[in-house]
């Protein structure tokens, strides 16, 4: 085995790269959020913390507080993301479980199928859906033929028959479609590493399959589920182009769209940056929760 310093040396460039590009970019956002705008509405970052202007941050906090301008958008975003995560769990877990434990010779095929979507860019795939889901598109007509749209109608999930006409359900399903592979892959990796002997022990000790799953496999797959959840929750919270393509209506605006709107034009680019900071802080809570529970799992595994 190579001495430790070699590995440290080899890892340094990438670590420096990550640190610099994360910190510089993040500090730029902070400086814009704590800065001001010119009369031409160009952001003037305040790089010196002594000159920070907290007005925009305060405005952003007031906006996302109940009753503020972005409160509705914030609640909607949380709802969309939670719904998308729940659906991802419901459809992703069985796939990962099957691929890891029962697929046998087909495991390779399933993995290829899971990675296949990444051969085409996310945006292109979403564009494809805008054609499929348009009123004259194959998917829309197919679902109409199968009465899926009227089923969604009667459940109150779809308003009218136009899937692309500002429907929350379309945006949520599109988020699921876009991110579910990111959920399945880490979950698969974790289920694949599951210690077979623990399951055998459960069965040997008389647990029926359902109990073995509920009391052994499920708790053991918690780290995988958490990792997958965090992995998809973070980008979904900041996502804006899915909404742009699948709806474009103010009724489905997510927090990413609000930030994009502020940053793309107008006098409130600093407000956009401040909102980004709030979102980062919010996501940090997720991240800390994830790290904490990972540590607890490790401690448990170690004991």
């Amino acid at each position: 085995m190579a001495p430790r310093w070699i590995w440290r040396l080899l890892a340094t460039p990438a670590l420096v790269w990550l640190a610099v590009f994360f910190l510089v970019a993040f500090y730029a956002i902070v400086s814009v959020g704590m800065g001001n705008v010119t009369t031409l509405f160009e952001p003037v970052p305040h790089w010196n913390p002594l000159h920070w202007n907290v007005g925009y941050l305060w405005q952003a906090i007031k906006d996302v507080a109940p009753g503020g301008q972005t409160w509705n958008v914030f609640v909607r975003t949380v709802f969309y993301v939670v719904a998308a995560m729940a659906i991802s769990l419901a459809i992703g877990y069985p796939v990962a479980y099957y691929a890891a434990r029962h697929a046998g010779r087909r495991r390779g095929l399933i993995l290829v199928l899971l990675v296949l979507p990444f051969w085409i860019s996310y945006i292109m795939r979403m564009f494809a859906w805008t054609n499929l889901l348009a009123s004259d598109g194959y998917a829309a007509r197919g679902m109409h033929a199968l009465s899926i749209d009227s089923l969604f109608n009667s459940l109150g999930l779809l308003d009218g028959t136009d899937w692309l006409g500002g429907q929350s359900v379309t945006v949520i399903l599109a988020l699921v479609y876009g991110y579910v592979p990111f959920f399945i892959l880490p979950l698969y990796a974790s289920l694949d590493r599951l210690d077979q002997r623990l399951i055998e022990a459960a069965r040997d000790l008389g647990a029926p399959p359902r109990d073995a799953f509920r009391r052994v496999i499920l708790p053991l797959s918690r780290p995988g589920i958490l990792a997958g959840m965090v992995l998809i929750a973070l980008p979904m919270f900041g996502d804006y182009y899915t909404q742009d393509l699948m709806s474009g209506s103010p009724n489905t605006t997510m927090i990413g769209n609000a930030i994009n709107g502020y940053v793309q034009g107008g006098p409130d680019k600093s407000l956009g940056a401040a909102l980004t900071l709030l979102l980062s802080a919010f996501l940090l809570i997720f991240m800390l929760f994830y790290l904490r529970s990972m540590r607890r799992e490790q401690v448990q595994a170690g004991s």
Binding site: T39, E42, A134, D162, G165, S249, P250, G261, G265, D268
Partner: protein, 434 residues
Amino acid sequence: MTNPPDRGISRRSLLRRAGAVALGGAAVAGVAGCENTTTPVPASGAGGGGKGLLGDPTAGGPVDAAGIPLARRDYPVTLPKIGDSVSSSAKVERGGELRIYNYADYLDPGVIKAFGKLHDVRVTVTTFETLDEAFSKLSTGGLEFDVIFSTPDQLSRLVGRQLVQPLNLELVPNLQTNVWPETISPFYDIGPRYSVPYVVYTTGVGWRNDIVKVNPNALPTVWDALWDARGQRGKVQLLNDPREAIGMAIMRSGSVDLNTEDQKTIDAAVAQLEKLDQDVRVKVSISAYEQLPAGRITIGQMWSGDMLNAVISYLPKGTPASVLSYAYQEVGGPVFNDVITVASAARKPVLAHQFLNYMLNPKVAYDNFVNFVGYQPPQNSIDAASLFKDGVLPANLRSAIVTREAYANGNAYLTLTAEGQRRWDRGWAKFRTS
């Protein structure tokens, strides 16, 4: 912002110049520098202080407190000449790349290719969705172009930020000879110093007459057609443009003051838009030219050129052009033009001038119009009536053509003060995050 040194160039009065333009139409052979009178130019309006605009004594016109020129039809603006334009004897650059910044689908690829062939250059077009986005990206300095397409109300910001360079009109001779006289030296850019007109348009209501039965002209305002389109939920377009969207709501309330800065008027207009969204669930976009013929949008606020563009390039097989209809507000509705400018960061400024001149060539302008874009260039040689007679364009879209009379009498979204712009933008943000 650095002010150019006051070199004491000779001056003459803005009013005289504006008068000369109005009378002679084309009396602008020389730009600043060749002028030989000595009357200082008062910048009428607040903050001008007689020093012209941005320190250029030859510039003038109404400005806001921050010095941004506020051109109005009755108050023309001569934009400050910042930096030197290229010399008439400069050699045309060859080879490499000519970089253009424009809306998507707003320039005929055939025309671009022909220009590239002509000058042995690779022409690349980068696109933006909104003008605000374009300005933001340009002003960060991260994007560099040779040619920038924009609108008159953005022009003063582009000049103020030194993102565009003064033109040498000797390199753009087609301007004097081919375009409508009223667009040669327009009130937003007397001279012109920075811009040539690209295409003219109206903003109106377009709809699929086979799906929506409506006659907007019979309604109190044509815009009521959108508020009435409850049956078209989710298929109603609202232009993704704060000025156009809020302006439409203002017009619906009976006002034609499209450049108002009154907070109450703006708030009321935003409330109208929110009501509209509740009733018909709008699609905020600018792609009606593609979505209307496909039936994904069935009615909406759109630009006149979108209609012809739809006919030219986007009708699906089996859908006749006769299903498209268009109406605009004839009194006080927006009728205006877009502009083409040369970027201050241009690496091929002479070639960029050639491109401007090329776009003003009657044949090129015509091809660009009827083969692809559908937006009409203000060319003297293009007789709209004959286009319909010859069947180049469908007769049911006669209303999508802009006449010189309509242009001369039209209303327009013009530059606002920073505070006014802020009010419109905040109103728009409020609507978008509703």
